[in-house]
């Protein structure tokens, strides 16, 4: 952590970046995003097990971008999000400095995109362990039980769209749910409409989701909606042998194809 603070100070003092996007402790003790522009305030930065939010969501936020060139405290999911955002041409690699942190909290030396790519490639890119276990449990259920499970969960949804807003890859300025000619997703919250919304969200993230689990964490009513995109991340790997966010040149799975893609259900 001291290394992180020292590095942040150095970057700000030498005017290499104008803002550090990292974590600070809020008044109730939870870690939350911090935007440090003044080197004297770099001491506020923390990094520990509480720091789980995917900060990459701020890379595309206009008001944060307006602050100038930024350095971002990046765990593995953040680095993978950055990779996706670069490959989808939402950000330029030259405009950000990555302050990589490893899972044990030590500062990594991520000099450029190549180094970041190498780090990502040697990491475990599957879903987080506890979510893997949940997925196994759900996949053991019968179809009817799964249908009932998701109905029960999605009936809680209040359509606050925290799942969408918290996701670094849901950066569209106008989401499909805001299109009303035709109205694809009902504005009101009801179980069926909520299910359509979560199917739409998961499909739009298929092959793009980097398994950070931020959507599920953001949900104020505790719907494990991250399992939907994580299941698809698994399937993407099963079918196409790729993980999202591993290369700046990779196009997402659903915007490309191989002529010999294998499936067994089309007659």
């Amino acid at each position: 952590m001291n290394n992180l603070i020292a590095r942040a100070k150095e970057l700000l003092e030498n005017k290499i970046v104008q803002v550090i996007v990292g974590y600070e402790a809020g008044p109730t003790g939870v870690a939350r995003p911090a935007f440090i522009t003044n080197p004297a305030k770099a001491d506020l930065l923390i990094y520990d097990e509480r720091c789980v939010q995917n900060l990459a969501v701020y890379l595309t936020k206009p008001e944060v971008r307006n602050l100038g060139k930024m350095a971002i405290v990046a765990t593995l999911p953040v680095m993978r999000s950055i990779m996706m955002l670069i490959s989808e041409q939402q950000i330029f690699a030259d405009n950000i400095i990555v302050l990589g942190v490893s899972s044990d909290g030590s500062l990594l030396d991520i000099a450029d995109i190549k180094v970041m790519q190498a780090y990502i490639e040697k990491s475990d890119l599957g879903n987080p362990v506890k979510d893997r276990a949940l997925l196994v449990e759900l996949n053991k259920l019968s179809k009817e039980e799964r249908f009932a499970y998701w109905q029960k969960e999605l009936s809680k949804c209040i359509k606050c769209y925290a799942c969408r807003q918290a996701c670094p890859l849901c950066y569209c300025t106008r989401c499909t749910v805001e299109v009303n000619q035709p109205q694809w997703i009902p504005v009101q919250s009801n179980t069926h409409g909520n299910m359509e919304w979560h199917i739409l969200r998961a499909m739009h993230l298929a092959g793009r989701c980097i398994s950070c689990g931020e959507c599920g964490r953001a949900c104020p009513v505790g719907i494990p909606c991250h399992l939907l995109t994580m299941q698809l991340a698994d399937e993407v790997h099963n079918y196409f042998k790729v993980y999202a966010g591993t290369s700046e040149k990779m196009s997402s799975v659903l915007s490309t194809f191989e002529p010999n893609d294998k499936e067994s259900f089309i007659i």
């Binding site: 039980e145 249908f147 009801n190 069926h192 409409g193 399937e235 259900f265």
Partner: protein
Amino acid sequence: MSDFEPKVVAFVCNWCTYAGADLTGTSRIKYASNVKIIRFPCTGRIDFMLLLKAFANGADGIIVSGCHPNDCHYTSGNFHAKRRWIMFKELMDFMGVDMNRITFSWVSAAEGAKWADVVNTTVTRLREMGPYVSYRDLVNKSVEEEVKNE
């Protein structure tokens, strides 16, 4: 259940399956009349949301069909569609939606007989499965949710 006739919506591409279905007719091949065909420019245009809307509006089954791989009028629309269908199928399976109610097929403009076969097997299967009650219940229950305070 013996007199149950499933409602089937078929989403087909203009260039192959629609022409194939036309050939079925001109060849005087009979097939189940349960199917309502909706013509699209290409399978690449068949949004998964349309399939959901079909179920929501009372379809018991769905057929999605287009040109064989390498035959797409727009070169690659069906390859993209294939990937999307793979993902859609897996997601629907995971959420417990009955994927036996959706038939995906490749039917070319020359395969009038295959189209009749695709429709007939789908309809026969759906007749055995009965109406898609669980999805309809979900939709109806959702309509009632709005007024539960009354």
